[in-house]
Amino acid sequence: MGLIQREIEKAGIPTAGISIVRRFTEETKAPRAVFLKWPMGHPLGEPGRGKQQITVLKKALETLETIKEPGTIIDLPYRWRRYEDMS
């Protein structure tokens, strides 16, 4: 995802990513991202939970206005509650 993000940014369009594997986002040097320690397949949370999805979406888009340092990843404080074994 980060590689595609970089190509879009190179073309002159600002980008913001939602990361769920922090290492990949760090290594691909994505310009702006929020990180959530949530399971694969759930970058915006759970099905049918619109409020949760809107919250993540807003936080991700806001980085366009708030991140000034290229490569910044903002760790969002939301914990995944569905799986007790989520580390």
Binding site: L3, P43, L44, P47, L61, L64
Partner: protein, 191 residues
Amino acid sequence: MNRGELDPGFATNLPHTLGMEQSMALKDRILAKIFTAFPSLVRRAAEKIPPLKIGGIPWAPFTKGLKGSRVAIVTTAGVHLKSQKPFNMKDPNGDATFRVIPKDTKKEDFIITHDYYDHRDADIDINIVFPIDRLRELADEGFIGAVAENHYGFMGHIDGPHLKTLLNDTAPDAAKRLKEDGVDCVLLTPG
């Protein structure tokens, strides 16, 4: 066996009683299920992938403000329309092509082709990987200016020779289309 002892590599040793291709598909499905049930393993598996060496960070300053911006989504979750050609799941190096997703696509016209993560929840609600309805709500409330006409769907599992295709051809092509669409900023979502 304790959950903590589960080796994500074990599925590679599945007996090949099925055809090679079916066995690979089965392996991927099993891995996807395991990774969803034991999310910490995703991180452990990710640690085994050799690091990418990339220099520099591209930067396009954002000056327009969200309220005045036309926003597009680019996802690597394997999202596309049922009427479009599915991503190629038989190639172990993935598929570097993309699909154009019009903003007014109906819920029932979406499908996800991606064997490398468990998308059963996203099949129920596409918004958890491709938040198109939420983006529309943000446009309605004035948080963003507008939803772009077209969005772009990739399949995130890309490796080997296809990485070159992605970096030299398909990703720049999608970027060029986004420019032509008059998009001001892009949200990227993984699978």
